[in-house]
Subunit: 188 residues, 4 copies
């Protein structure tokens, strides 16, 4: 079995996005504490105006589809806007199809409020499930994000967050490994 590959998607392109700090922290923790190959993907690298259906070939979106094809799972770091997900995240998700199937996904929510993206996840989960992904049981809620990092950009209460992320990574890797073995052993 090949080495696992699990990219991390920063799912907002908005000016002054706070989620960037969270995504970098998650990427950092994942890189250091698992031996899994990863990559931090910035949604800004994809054309937000892309409205080509997923069944049409598109050079702009080809890189995203290739990354997903190689991936054995996904971590999405995204904020909640008006109790839903960012539009650009949905545009990107909708631009692939078969590439998601039988792979686990973990969601790290970010919010300026105390709710930490929980409502956005309620909407992301059925969509990811429809695409054949497996949203794992646990999630991380980065609430009141403006107070989470110190002036040097370091997260406060680091150990608390490390513990939360460890639980999520463990569960994600269990599924990534088991489902990869399943995809190899029992191809359709």
């Amino acid at each position: 079995m090949d080495k696992l590959f699990i990219p991390i998607l920063l799912g907002t392109a908005r000016d002054e996005r706070e989620s960037e700090k969270v995504a970098k922290f998650v990427f950092d923790q994942f890189s250091k504490n698992t031996k899994i190959k990863t990559e931090l993907i910035d949604i800004r690298n994809f054309a937000l105006s892309e409205t080509t259906p997923s069944w049409v070939e598109s050079p702009i979106i080809a890189e995203w589809r290739e990354t997903l094809t190689k991936a054995d799972g996904l971590i999405i770091v995204a904020p909640e806007y008006n109790h839903g997900y960012p539009g650009e995240l949905k545009l990107l998700i909708d631009s692939a199809l078969k590439e998601y199937e039988k792979k686990p996904v973990a969601i790290c929510g970010v919010s300026s409020s105390a709710i930490g993206g929980a409502r956005m996840m309620q909407h992301l989960i059925p969509t990811l499930s429809k695409l054949g992904m497996i949203p794992i049981k646990d999630a991380a809620y980065f609430s009141v994000v403006k107070e989470l990092f110190n002036q040097k950009g370091k997260i406060k209460n680091k150990q608390k967050w490390q513990k939360i992320l460890k639980k999520i990574f463990d569960e994600l890797l269990w599924y990534a490994k088991v489902l990869k073995e399943g995809r190899i052993k029992y191809p359709k």
Copy 2:
């Protein structure tokens, strides 16, 4: 009291969108059968790549905010993609804020499947509600959209659809009128 104004938003920019036919039919019915001022707004006229938060002034989105400010209600015609709403629709919705408050909204769902956009509405409703809109009780479900129009682009079973839309328009107008009177009589 000024005349009511209720625009109709075509909420997908995707190539080969089927919702355009539905939006035109809804616009046509609304224009003919109510005496309400309206306008068909194509989401393609707004920059999909716009990621300016709603609290920042933006020339690109100014027209949308002005239209909403004048509006006494809204009709959204939108498809369901992967059991959620189109990303471009969320980008546009997220680009205004106070402009939505205390105004009713009706949703016409479009789908290539038999479900008619019902799942997308489950996600649109809490977001519109959070913005202070009043999603009305009834909705229209334009299921299996590829079979709904004849070769000349005319809707089949017109009377059935007229009856469905009449019920929705009646409810929308009740709220538009009552809430406009309320906004005038009891300003904050």
Copy 3:
């Protein structure tokens, strides 16, 4: 116009429910700070085994239907169980139909976690909307409920909660008043 009547529903029957304290606090605040007639309704007073559809007459549920008929709005205080609403709350909601129409509803969420019932609300809102209620824009999130009250059962940070509830009550009453006038002036 008759005096407004807005009952408050405690929406969990579970043993050792923490939401009872919250419901009593909300009831207390609503009674003291508005001049609106109210009543605290305990869902335990209704038979959970009620499985009669809403279109059939049922003596067990008649009191609930009568209360709703007289009501000009509703406040629901309910916990989140497994990211959804309590089953008994849905059973009670499903036991009436026309009685909900054109009336506003405010939700106060309760949770042992930090999320305060936000996910449960995402599911309650479309259901209440389908029944013709108007879920108001704001909500109260009573997170980590075990730490909210002191040993004497008094809420900590009372002023913070009073401010949150005042905003909700103001919005609820605006809709209750405007929609009652609308129901009288423009009956169907």
Copy 4:
């Protein structure tokens, strides 16, 4: 590896429930066309008045917990009431916890309307996911249920439904098998 066991839950207790016919058809198809051990579980056999939290031992609900413990997956047949799931289904789901983990679930929706339970599923999926279940990609939508069966109680268009169910069973069994192997090979 032991033989797989996948029970089928009829998730409504309502008088005159139409979902019973659908559950029997699904049970029949699953029994005949897979070699998997199954059982049709009627939610009426569990006390709806059960309000004991899942972390407390409860003789009334012990049988449900034991069935889940033995199960390698689950099929839920349930109607949509007011765009959500039946309250009694949520009460039963909430009465267990760890028993659901790392097991797939398929949902068969039933509706008197044309929507086939799609909205109810949007709410069931995040709850089942939070409990550690894996909602599979596809679902069955038994829309306009009153017209689906002939006077002898036989389903019309049997081949269409067999094809839909086959796809669901195949996917469910893939996950049941792969995850069971995973649970054995990589216990926590």
